[in-house]
Symmetry: C2
């Protein structure tokens, strides 16, 4: 029955399964939170929309696989990537029983290789515009969004979605996009600055037609060490 050669302690009575990885890729364009999807030009479910995914290779670590799949669509490396959940309903994939490990990616939308993405039929959608997805991919997206909202409230996660240098108003816009709610400008600013995670670059943002905002960078040192601390970036009773 089994394709492998057996030895005394192998798992010969057990069944094997297809295992896929699907990536939920979030980006931010300065105004809205977006999701990167692909229009499938291959079977199954050709011409429908889905998450970017792929099968786990024979000798590939899961993290490597997720990085490979993300890279194939965006050209990016060293991206914020976190394993989220493994979907394993026996009937979730009508073609054949397949497990899917979902990975959650946050990218600065300006950094990705737009040509590569286009060549793979990738497209960015706001949540308003998002088409229905194949299989249980809508469920995956919902869980990932909930996770983003949950985690960004407690940990300095949002910075991953912004350019290297950013202003506090930009960061606020991002948080407002994540939670679809407005925040008080003055309190937000003080709360963010009080974390000590931001370094003033001395530069000012060029582009606004009013007072130019100060540009900050992340203090990578503190960011790493404080990442698992609690920060409460959202107002009390926010949820």
């Amino acid at each position: 029955m089994n394709e492998n050669n057996q030895n005394a302690t192998s798992y010969q009575g057990e069944k094997k399964h297809y295992v896929a990885i699907d990536c939920i890729i979030f980006g931010f364009d300065g105004q809205k939170l977006k999701l990167l999807l692909i229009k499938r030009n291959f079977e199954p479910e050709k011409d429908k929309w889905s998450l970017m995914g792929g099968f786990v290779k024979e000798n590939e670590n899961l993290r490597e696989g997720s990085e490979r799949i993300l890279n194939e669509l965006t050209g990016l490396e060293n991206v914020y990537l976190e394993q989220l959940f493994t979907y394993g309903e026996a009937q979730r994939d009508p073609v054949a029983r397949t497990l899917s490990i979902s990975y959650f990616a946050l990218i600065n939308i300006e950094d990705h290789d737009a040509g590569l993405t286009k060549s793979k039929n990738g497209e960015w959608f706001t949540f308003d515009e998002k088409p229905p997805l194949i299989f249980d991919h809508d469920k995956m997206v919902n869980k990932a969004l909930a996770h983003l909202q949950y985690k960004a409230a407690l940990h300095p996660l949002g910075f991953e979605l912004l350019p290297e240098k950013f202003t506090i108003p930009q960061l606020q816009k991002l948080y407002e996009a994540i939670y679809d709610k407005e925040l008080d400008r003055r309190n937000f600013s003080r709360k963010i600055l009080s974390t000590g995670l931001l370094i003033d670059t001395g530069e000012k943002y060029e582009g606004g037609n009013t007072k130019k905002a100060m540009l900050y960078t992340l203090d990578k040192e503190k960011y790493g060490s404080q990442f698992n601390d609690f920060h409460y970036f959202t107002p009390k009773g926010f949820f």
Copy 2:
């Protein structure tokens, strides 16, 4: 190469993988937080300690599998069970490449079938006494403990580890065991009661040799609806 019959849209070029489920089972004995492990009387790694686990069956949902495996060792059903993380380093299992999906279980230690557990070579350990485990199971345990600490700080999770009726001092002992820190009795009591999750049963705990504490039950209704709310059961700056 592949054992299945193929059709036009099957995944014939892809590799399949063994997929296991391992359960990290937490219990509380009134004083200490404990972990349920098994001494393996089967290969591989016979006579060593490991988590309770098993392979995912051909047509079994993952949640069903985790419930089956937990039930085999404890006799319990309807237990708090949460999928945690999927371990998939290519070399994590020296016998054959195997993915392992870890599940996190919280049980009331009094409820389980001690005879069944014993017959499966199961044993409860405090974290002080825990032996080294096979493969990457120590890593799984550490991640599960971190998750318990994280989640119990924000959600009313601890109740799962206590009997149906419990006292506030018992609940406090549990939190102190989870975090290995002492809490202020008076503030803890007020904080817990302010959640409105506890119902006074009118009874008193029999067993202490001083003043008998009041017995409470969970308000299941509120528990369900508030489970995803933030509660902050631990003091500020606790971590």
